[in-house]
């Protein structure tokens, strides 16, 4: 008999779009954190407004977690498709909560799965004549199955539906209670997971988009322009709602080209400015990005990665825009590219991006992916108490009044960064030029001024490097295997390392790469030179980080684990793939089964 597991479970709710699947997942995640636990909330949804197959997964634990698992303790199915697609993920004795009356024929081997029949639709229609309360019925049923506290869930539902008015709140509370009572009355199976409140520091759950928005506001960002595009649309929603009360103007412009140009204009006029988009929108921003570089105007650009190319899989994750972030824009400029790994990293990296952009007067890219952008991680670590703001070399009125002429792009600098004036300042006039220019910003075309100005801009790079925190090899530096990753796979890789150690007795360490530009070539070369078998894990086809490492350090990484099916690695999948790589020998090409395809590369 399976042992009862306290405060650790993995749940999925599935159904059609339009049935509040995402909100239901969020409600259950909040339920978990209000019980003092950690929840990781992930969503999968097609590019549709109604219909299609949508799921929200909530993984709960009493310790910090940052990735999803595939094995389920509970599956809540609001429709038949959910059962068909996910029943195989249920663990032995796992619980399926479903509405038997809605299923034509339950075509699954029920052996080993506990079936909990809750009449979602009947309860819902009895309350409000519509099916829409099914999800709240399901929430109540789930609380009951877990022997949890109903009143905590009630509190969450009240807040969630506050704006919809008293009647809707009442309906949802009734539905929730009815689901709860139904299970308490009719379920006589084995409760093998429970949620019991534990005392802990107050927790919150935020997505990557929300973390970036919070970071931007904390850093004093006063202008944000964004054209909606998955996966960063939620950042626009967040900024539009919270920006106004926290000092930021938010504009939804006509297109992405306008978006970046507005951010540049706002920054030119003196405030911290940001714009956000996805890979496709950033393609449109390419030339503007270079404009920020040549005019040396600081901006922060959030580029959320999703499966490409072109429209691709709009609502699925990928790590295939690294090259775009590194190389977009004609010509050559100094740029910053930071790929955050989780929500805390997203919050602090956003602030760091503003600081670095201001200090070095360069454009900075934050490069999350859909998995980070839309999924929720529980955190207690977000704090503004130690934050400071440094706007870099902004020239004062006093300094200007002592000058006969002001050279905005003065060549007399050690680090390539010259003082910047803001329109409105007396004696500070200059031209911010997209053309190559002289120290006053006026057009030049001759060799010498062009060469000098190019060198001024590019010599910022080693100075930016000095300000970046060093990459670290986590784990025993003499380990047999080194796993390399970047972006949002960090947590899954860390968990995979535990499994590799515990189940296969392997010694593993981990290099997580956060700064992609400027690239910490020397540090990474030193680290990797001491490593034995190196395996890189990337959510793309061409192994873009592996290529970058080779370009910058000369080190060729032979073992690559790739996926490009729009889904994120789980820790167990990484474990299995690493075992496959190892099982196939040390050298030569290795044929491995890809996720959904025939073969993948090494």
């Amino acid at each position: 008999m399976k042992k009862m597991v306290m405060n650790k479970l993995n749940l999925v709710i599935g159904g059609e779009a339009g049935y509040g699947i995402m909100n239901t997942g969020l409600a259950f995640a909040k339920f978990s954190i209000r019980n003092g636990l950690y929840a990781f909330l992930s969503h999968e949804y097609p590019s549709l407004v109604r219909g299609g197959h949508n799921t929200s997964a909530v993984r709960v634990s009493d310790s910090e977690i940052g990735s999803h698992h595939d094995k389920l303790s509970i599956l809540i199915a609001l429709n038949e498709e959910t059962i068909e697609k996910h029943y195989e993920q249920l663990e032995h004795d796992g619980i399926l909560i479903y509405d038997k009356a809605e299923i034509k024929e339950l075509n699954i081997p029920a052996k080993g799965i506990q079936l909990v029949d809750v009449p979602f639709v009947k309860i819902s229609t009895e309350i409000c004549n519509k099916r829409l309360l099914s999800n709240s019925v399901a929430l109540g049923a789930t609380v009951a199955v877990l022997n949890g506290e109903l009143k905590i869930m009630n509190g969450i539902l009240k807040e969630m539906y506050e704006e919809k008015g008293k009647e809707i709140i009442e309906w949802n509370l009734k539905a929730c209670k009815a689901g709860y009572d139904s299970v308490k009355k009719n379920f006589h199976g084995r409760v093998n997971h429970e949620i019991k409140a534990i005392k802990s520091a107050k927790k919150c759950i935020i997505t990557g988009n929300e973390a970036i928005g919070l970071g931007a506001l904390a850093a004093g960002c006063k202008f944000h322009s964004q054209y909606p595009m998955t996966p960063t649309t939620q950042l626009l929603t967040f900024m539009a709602l919270y920006g106004p009360k926290n000092g930021a103007v938010v504009v939804q412009p006509e297109d992405e080209i306008s978006s970046i140009h507005m951010a540049i204009g706002a920054s030119f006029a003196g405030v911290r400015a940001m714009c956000a988009t996805a890979g496709g929108g950033f393609c449109l921003m390419s030339e503007g990005f270079g404009l920020a570089g040549i005019t040396e105007i600081p901006i922060v650009v959030v580029v959320g990665q999703r499966a490409g190319p072109a429209t691709g899989l709009p609502t699925k994750t990928e790590q295939s825009d690294l090259n775009l972030a590194l190389h977009s824009g004609q010509g050559e400029i100094a740029r910053i590219v930071i790929a955050p790994s989780d929500v805390e990293d997203a919050f602090y990296s956003t602030i760091e991006a503003f600081e670095l952009a201001d200090k070095f007067q360069v454009p900075a890219i934050l490069l999350p992916d859909k998995y980070l952008c839309v999924n929720g991680k529980t955190t207690e670590k977000i704090s503004c108490s130690d934050l400071t703001i440094n706007r870099g070399k902004l020239i004062s009125d006093k300094q200007l009044s002592a000058m006969t002429e002001f050279k905005r792009y003065s060549l007399e600098t050690e680090d390539g960064v010259s003082y910047r004036s803001i329109p409105g300042q007396k004696n500070g006039m200059y031209d911010a030029a997209s053309d190559e220019h002289n120290e006053f910003g006026q057009i030049v075309e001759d060799s010498k001024p062009r060469t000098c100005m190019m060198e001024k801009r590019m010599k910022k790079i080693p100075f930016i490097l000095k300000d970046l925190s060093k990459p670290e090899l986590i784990g025993d530096k003499n380990a047999d295997i080194t796993l390399i990753g970047w972006g949002s796979t960090k947590s899954a890789i860390e968990e995979a390392m535990d499994e590799l150690r515990d189940s296969a007795n392997l010694s593993v360490n981990h290099l997580h790469v956060k700064y992609l530009s400027p690239f910490q070539s020397d540090d990474i070369k030193n680290i990797l030179s001491g490593c034995k078998k190196i395996i890189i894990i990337e959510g793309n086809y061409t192994s873009q980080l592996a290529s970058l490492i080779r370009e910058k350090t000369g080190i060729e990484i032979k073992y690559k684990i790739n996926r490009y099916d729009g889904k994120q690695f789980t820790s167990h999948e990484i474990y299995k793939k690493v075992m496959e790589v190892l099982g196939n020998g040390i050298s030569g090409t290795v044929q491995n089964k890809s996720f959904g395809g025939a073969q993948w590369q090494i």
Binding site: K30, K202, C204, I206, E210, L214, L217, A218, A219, G220, K222, F223, S225, Y242, P244, N246, G247, V249, V251, P253, E254, I257, S258, S259, H261, M262, A263, I264, G265, A266, F268, A269, G270, V271, R272, A273, G288, L291, T295, I382, S383, C384, L387, T388, I389, P423, G424, K426, G428, M429, Y430, D431, A432, A433, S434, D435, F440, G441, Q442, I443
Partner: protein
């Protein structure tokens, strides 16, 4: 600030001798003088094109953006600092070719900036291709058999898109143009001034003389408050109407933004403690 030479830049313009843009440059300076705007309080946003590079040749804060992208930059500058006089200088290829989307949305948005559109019906800087405003059948190096598309009417487009001030003028009449720019500046909202600007090097058809013969000044009695009448006036193509075609009073974007209704953006950047947001909505 005493006289017009205060607005003279360090270097002289690189325009061809006799270029219509000299007239526009003179009018912009005269307008700034008349409006009593100190050079450091003026921000001229240009782009890539002979006329739109005007910012380089006025002593003020200048920004030369990418081809056709000055309008978004100009709007953001004004939103962030409404105390500045913001003038976007833009050509016909930029305003109704590359950057049409920006012109149309700026008209709906109604940020309080002046948009001077120099229309020479050709692409001068790239040495003589057809423009979206070239007359139909116009022969150029990119249309050796004559253009096929119908030209865009900038003034009519501005009115249709919802600009709250629309005027047309001529680079050969500096006094008239100065007056239009002053009126555009005084108008609260997005103000478009289309300027017929002869390109002496590449456009041998729409010359100073041609412009003079094909334009007339709108009667002083004309009331520019009727959109339909203004549209009809704009569409006249035998002789183009010069003057203020349309004016409407409308709320300015930057004063309607939720947090800017009471006061402009705070210029000092401070840490914002977001803990309250987290506690209230994300716990």
């Amino acid at each position: 600030m005493a006289n017009i030479t205060d607005y003279n830049a360090r270097v002289a313009p690189t325009w061809c001798p006799g270029c219509g843009n000299f007239g526009i440059l003179a009018a912009v300076k005269k307008a700034l003088l008349e409006l009593k705007i100190e050079p450091h309080n003026a921000t001229i946003i240009g782009g890539v094109g002979c006329g739109s590079k005007l910012a380089y040749w006025v002593k003020a804060y200048g920004f030369n953006s990418l081809h056709g992208r000055q309008i978004p930059v100009a709007q953001a500058v004004k939103i962030v600092n409404p105390e500045l006089e913001v003038i976007a200088t833009i050509g016909d290829g930029e305003s109704v070719g590359e950057g049409t989307n920006h012109l149309v949305h700026a008209a709906r948005r109604n940020v309080d900036i002046v948009c001077v559109i120099s229309n020479n019906q050709i692409y001068g800087l790239t040495t003589g291709q057809a423009s979206p405003t070239s007359d139909k059948g116009f022969v150029t190096i990119s249309s050796p058999y004559g253009t096929i598309e119908q030209p865009i009417n900038i003034t009519a487009l501005a009115i249709a898109a919802g600009a709250s001030f629309v005027a047309r003028s001529f680079a050969g009449d500096i006094e008239h143009l100065t007056d239009m720019i002053v009126k555009a500046s005084k108008h609260k909202g997005f103000a478009v001034v289309e300027v017929l600007q002869p390109c002496v090097t590449f456009n041998k058809k729409n010359t100073f003389d041609w412009d003079k013969e094909h334009t007339y000044k709108i009667d002083k009695k004309y009331k520019p408050n009727n959109k339909t009448k203004a549209f009809e006036l704009a569409l006249e193509n035998k002789k183009l109407a010069l003057g203020v075609l349309y004016v409407e009073k409308r709320d300015v974007f930057e004063k309607s933004i939720h947090e800017l209704k009471k006061a402009p953006i705070e210029q000092e950047t401070k840490v914002v403690d977001v803990a309250k947001i987290l506690e209230k909505d994300f716990a």
